[in-house]
């Protein structure tokens, strides 16, 4: 099982919106946003099945999410994590002095992490910040 | 409530015929009273100072969506210009487009008590009222724009004045508006397709109606309703060389109409910022451009049912903003600066572009001259009001500078000889050089208070010190006997009122703003006969073409108009 490099982007999904309004402390929010969407080709390179937990690492941080098949693909070379604390654990915070972090276009490494768990948002943020 | 007795000042009140006499002026329970009617008044010694009723602004863009675009998209207009709050005053910011707080403080410093927001897009009425609510001290009203409104275009194509009137009455009530504003009639709707109406007889695409029909019909509807204010128009082809003929065509439409109202208003058409509409020639080049202010104002002098305001160019870097969408697009191509535009569904549009009136160019100097000429050719100053179409021709804070130019040949010559690069060309292509008239303080009171109050239909409340009117008095540190030597004293005095009493409350005391007053929002509630057809049309348009529901269109509730002053008009037949 090899680690792969991809370009990470993030943004809204309807499931992210619904689960967010249902309560970010709930597991449904984790299940909607604690994911990484990849093309089939990437799963081949990664050498694992869909719905496997993976660790996503950038020079800015690292987070465990569940890798699933692209729902709005294909998008060759791109990985997608819905906006939320999981994506924000690894995105490029550089604002280029505009105030806006570079939420889209962060080079990340993905490797399989079957034995690691995807934390809920509160546990994740607490672990990282407190 | 405190009583005030103002003694020893030089008083100017054209309504009472007081021309610089030292008479006592008294305020009690928020109203003007006879000097004898105050028992234990606070005495204000106005010795060596000028006393007038508080100023009334007939046309300024100080609140609403396009004004706020002007603020938000011009941080550079505020750079290094922030003023910290002190006492009751909050922080101020902005030069050409001041924050609402600064707007209120500027008006207070200039001795004004009322300001009419010149253009309110009906769909954005809530926004306009939120800004008016947050602008302390001064009373304000707002004019919804009608000149490109689909209901109006459809009714006036068929010359249905009664239906137009019914719709106007409904809209004034829905938006808490004050009167009828008409900007580039037909042109802004045409702009929905990137086109324009350049003369009063151009046809509006699809709607098949002309600016002439729109202006004529809106005057008819305004007088049908008997509104306090007359139809307030910004005509076609603003700012275009040679547009004075279009202006005359527009003005002449008023010949068919007589005023019909219970407010003492004698005009049926107010042409705003006339300066922008008095151009001759074919280009802005000094060999072609020429002033036609004389021709236009002579026509106004020849009739009795038209008023106008000047829109004097103050030669500053400012921000232009108007519901005349196609004009702003045109302007953005002239100076290549940033351009904002908002077309408003079924109703109107607007554009905003920063602009530098550079005294080193001929055209800016000529525009400066034309504006002043509009103030100097008038025979009856009760029908010509001093404005800068703030901020279009110049920032609000420049009013006192305009007074200086109008009141002093010396000040004008100084501009022509020392500030303008092409002063001689300006003398040549404009009338400014021939004019030795100097506006007197008595005339100034007409052009800044008595006149605008009358044309707004508010002569029974503002513009004079007559007992019974609102207790609004401004006192300026200007001595008409000794301060005539230096025109700069005019500019200083009228920008730094020593006292302002508004609604009987002391707002400015010894030059300091000490009270936020009791700000009111004026709107007009016109009663008309039941009109099922218009009601049906309104419901239909909301169901099919508006993106808000009819029930969510109405401006109501204390959030928007916490302290209303409603003028009721009965137009039922």
């Amino acid at each position: 099982m090899a680690a792969i490099q991809i370009n990470l982007i993030s943004g809204r999904t309807i499931q992210q919106g619904v689960s967010m309004e249902n309560g970010k402390e709930k597991l449904a929010y984790r299940d909607a946003c604690g994911i990484l969407e990849l093309d089939d080709a990437e799963f081949k390179r990664l050498g694992c099945f869909k719905n496997t937990n993976v660790r996503v690492t950038s020079e800015f941080g690292s987070v465990v999410v569940k890798a699933i098949g692209a729902t709005q693909g294909p998008h060759p070379g791109l990985g997608w994590i819905p906006m939320g604390p999981w994506a924000n654990a690894v995105v490029d915070p550089n604002t280029y002095s505009t105030g806006m972090p570079t939420f889209k276009g962060t080079p990340v490494t993905v490797d399989v992490a079957e034995d690691e768990v995807v934390l809920d948002s509160i546990a994740l943020i607490t672990e990282e910040c407190l | 409530m405190t009583e005030y007795l103002i003694k020893n000042g030089f008083v100017y009140d054209p309504i009472l015929g007081i021309n610089g006499d030292k008479v006592d002026v008294a305020v009690k329970d928020g109203k003007m009273v006879d000097a004898g009617d105050v028992a234990k008044p606070t005495i204000i010694d106005a010795a060596g100072m000028t006393v007038m009723a508080a100023g009334v602004d007939v046309h300024a863009h100080v609140a609403g969506p396009k004004v706020n675009v002007g603020r938000n998209f011009r941080p550079e207009d505020k750079l290094f210009r922030g003023v910290a709050g002190t006492g009751k005053k909050r922080m101020e910011g902005g030069f050409s487009v001041p924050t609402v707080l600064r707007t209120a403080y500027l008006y207070a410093r200039m001795g004004f008590g009322f300001s009419m927001e010149a253009a309110m897009p009906p769909l954005y009425a809530r926004h306009t009222h939120e800004e008016i609510r947050d602008t302390p001290i001064i009373d304000q009203g707002a004019l919804p724009v009608f000149g490109n409104n689909w209901f109006v275009l459809e009714y006036l194509k068929e010359n249905e004045v009664e239906n137009t009137a019914a719709y106007i009455a409904w809209l004034l009530n829905q938006t808490k508006g004050f009167g009828v504003k008409c900007v580039n009639p037909g042109g802004t709707e045409s702009w929905g397709w990137g086109m324009n109406c350049e003369t009063v007889d151009d046809v509006v695409p699809y709607f098949d109606v002309t600016p002439r029909q729109i202006v004529s019909g809106l005057i008819a509807a305004d007088e049908y309703l008997g509104l306090p204010h007359c139809m307030h128009v910004h005509g076609n082809s603003l700012g275009e060389p040679g547009n004075y003929e279009i202006t005359l065509d527009t003005l002449k439409i008023a010949e068919d109409y007589k005023p019909n109202n219970d407010f003492g208003r004698e005009v049926v058409l107010h042409n705003t910022h006339l300066q922008f509409h008095c151009y001759g020639g074919e280009s802005y080049a000094s060999k072609s451009f020429e002033s036609k202010s004389k021709e236009v104002v002579e026509y106004v002098n020849s009739v009795d049912n038209i008023s106008y305001d000047l829109g004097v160019v103050t030669l500053d870097e400012t921000t232009t903003m108007t519901a005349d969408g196609p004009f702003e697009h045109h302007l953005s191509h002239m100076n290549n600066l940033k351009w904002a535009n908002t077309d408003v569904e079924l109703e109107t549009g607007s554009g905003i572009v920063p602009f530098i009136y550079n005294p080193k160019t001929f055209i800016a100097g000529a525009q400066w001259a034309v504006g002043l000429e509009c103030g100097l050719f008038i025979k009856d100053p009760m029908r010509a009001y001093i404005t800068t179409d703030a901020p279009n021709a110049g920032p609000l804070c420049r009013y006192p500078r305009v007074y200086k130019w109008l009141m002093s040949v010396k000040a004008r010559d100084d501009m022509l000889d020392n500030t303008l690069k092409y002063g001689d060309k300006v003398r040549e292509r404009c009338y400014i050089g021939e004019l030795d008239r100097e506006i007197s303080l008595y005339e100034l009171a007409m052009m800044t208070r008595a006149g605008p109050a009358k044309t707004l239909g508010l002569g029974h409340m503002f513009g004079s010190l007559k007992p019974g009117l609102e207790g609004d008095v401004a006192i300026y540190p200007y001595n008409p006997e000794t301060d005539t030597d230096d025109p700069e004293k005019i500019e200083y005095a009228f920008g730094n009122s020593a006292y302002l009493i508004k609604g009987g409350r002391m707002i400015v005391k010894e030059g300091e703003i000490v009270d936020m007053g009791n700000k009111r929002t004026f709107w007009v509630d016109a009663k008309v006969n039941e009109n099922p057809m218009v009601e049906r049309d309104i419901a239909e348009k909301f169901r099919r073409y508006y993106t808000v529901t009819q029930n969510n269109y109405t401006v109501e509730g204390p959030h928007y108009v916490p302290n209303p002053y409603v003028i009721e008009v009965d137009a039922t037949r």
């Binding site: 249902n22 402390e25 939320g84 806006m100 | 908002t342």
Partner: protein
């Protein structure tokens, strides 16, 4: 017989749908059903009724546990936090009403705060671009009634603004667009084959992060100049074709979202999209509209605009307003250790800021005013739950096209709960007392 409330305004996204109908129980206390809303909007209304909802402020204890406190204690902590700080950051302001934003502005002015709203991580790039080059725009009704060329650039309304296409942009049969979607040509520019892209006549699947180059190429094509064979992964023939189609329309509109505001170049991507719109106006009519996220982020920019002159990134510390994203922007202030206290209302930076910024919030004295339990409340010292604006209290909100709409109160908040405006009023009063004493 359930009671139906009509013309309800949805307090979720910038689309600000105002045609919702809400069915209430006979006593008017409970929301039974929400009609016309998208699934996110409906969820927002229904979740407000959650039984496990927090109804009283809580303070974090030494051991990390939470202890319920009174609103008065919460006001006391908040007021002192703001007054004691040398440079407090007051962030959020998007999921609340303009009246609340107005009171917040007065507090910010009193305590000399840096104030910022969620535009800072959403359409702040757009606000900067508009300051640089302006914005030719139109209300959404103009689009519905006139537009025959519709571009969605780096936005995915099918997910982020679910009713946008049906209400405004693609499907409505407008005054001059009687054939609805058949009257319009739909373009989507996105590096992913999004659900919106799947509906489009043309999908330009560009290389991520090269929006600026592609928009620049479209400008070149509009002027009929020569192009390289491929730009941002799109062949030049297709670029010329798109340029011609947009020029040939009667009314072209570009909607754009975080695909451009978040990608390399930020404000420049918007700047040049606006330039394209400006260019198109030399050939036809064209407008550009940002797909604003929070339902009232636009409103907070408006309120600050008329009170201070700037739409976000306000620095009020010196007693007058200053503005410069990159200096006075939340993430820069936090990462650079420029602030010493954090106040959050109507937003969730804990979930939506890069984790490095969230760590700073966790290290500072902080208060979070939010009906929900969120990652922000989790790292804050004090969490103050308030009534849901647009559900339990009304107030003005501004749609993505700046159209102001009065949100409606549908049900009462739980017994004894304050609205955010009420809470802010108490804080403002207390702040003035503290300052008077000082």
């Amino acid at each position: 017989m359930a009671k139906i409330v009509t013309d309800v305004v949805c307090p979720f996204c910038g689309t600000l749908c105002d045609d919702l109908e809400v069915a209430l129980s006979d006593d008017g206390k409970e929301i039974l059903e929400v009609y016309n809303a998208c699934t996110i909007g409906a969820t927002k209304f229904l979740h407000s009724q959650a039984k496990d909802r927090l109804t009283r402020p809580q303070m974090k204890q030494e051991d990390g546990s939470w202890k319920e406190v009174t609103y008065d204690e919460a006001v006391e902590y908040t007021a002192n936090l703001l007054v004691d700080a040398k440079k407090p950051l007051m962030y959020g302001w998007s999921s609340t009403s303009c009246p609340a934003q107005g009171v917040g502005s007065e507090i910010g002015e009193e305590v000399g705060a840096c104030m910022d709203n969620t535009a800072t991580v959403c359409h702040g790039s757009t606000l900067i671009a508009v300051q640089d080059v302006g914005v030719p725009s139109a209300t959404l009704g103009e689009i519905a009634n006139r537009a025959d060329r519709v571009v969605f650039w780096g936005c995915n309304p099918a997910h982020a603004h679910p009713r946008h296409m049906s209400r405004y942009s693609i499907f409505p049969r407008g005054f001059f667009t009687g054939k609805g979607s058949k009257s319009r040509k739909m373009f989507v520019v996105d590096p992913r084959r999004t659900d919106t892209a799947k509906m489009a006549d043309v999908h330009l699947q560009l290389e991520q992060g090269h929006d600026y180059e592609l928009l620049s190429a479209i400008r070149v094509a509009i002027r009929g100049e020569a192009l390289p064979d491929v730009v941002a992964g799109i062949p030049k023939d297709q670029i010329y074709e798109v340029a011609d189609t947009l020029k040939s329309g009667r009314f072209s509109v570009i909607f754009f979202g975080m695909g451009v505001t978040h990608s390399l170049g930020k404000n420049h991507n918007i700047d040049i999209a606006i330039a394209v719109t400006r260019d198109l106006n030399d050939y036809t009519k064209a407008a550009i509209v940002p797909m604003r996220g929070h339902y009232n982020v636009t409103g907070s920019g408006q309120v600050w605009g008329w009170q201070f002159g700037f739409p976000f990134c306000l620095d009020l510390t010196r007693g007058f307003a200053r503005y410069n994203p990159g200096d006075s922007s939340s993430n820069d202030l936090l990462i650079r250790d420029e602030v010493d206290a954090v106040f959050v209302l109507g937003s969730d930076p804990g979930a939506h800021f890069p984790v490095g910024s969230v760590k700073k919030i966790a290290q500072l004295p902080s208060v979070c005013i939010d009906p929900h339990i969120t990652p922000t409340s989790a790292v804050s010292k004090l969490h103050v739950p308030v009534a849901f604006v647009g559900v339990e209290v009304g107030g003005c909100a501004y749609r993505m096209d700046n159209v102001p709409i009065e949100t409606r109160k549908v049900v009462e908040p739980p017994e004894g709960m304050l609205t955010d405006e009420e809470f802010l009023q108490k804080v403002l009063t207390r702040v003035r007392e503290l300052k008077g004493a000082a």
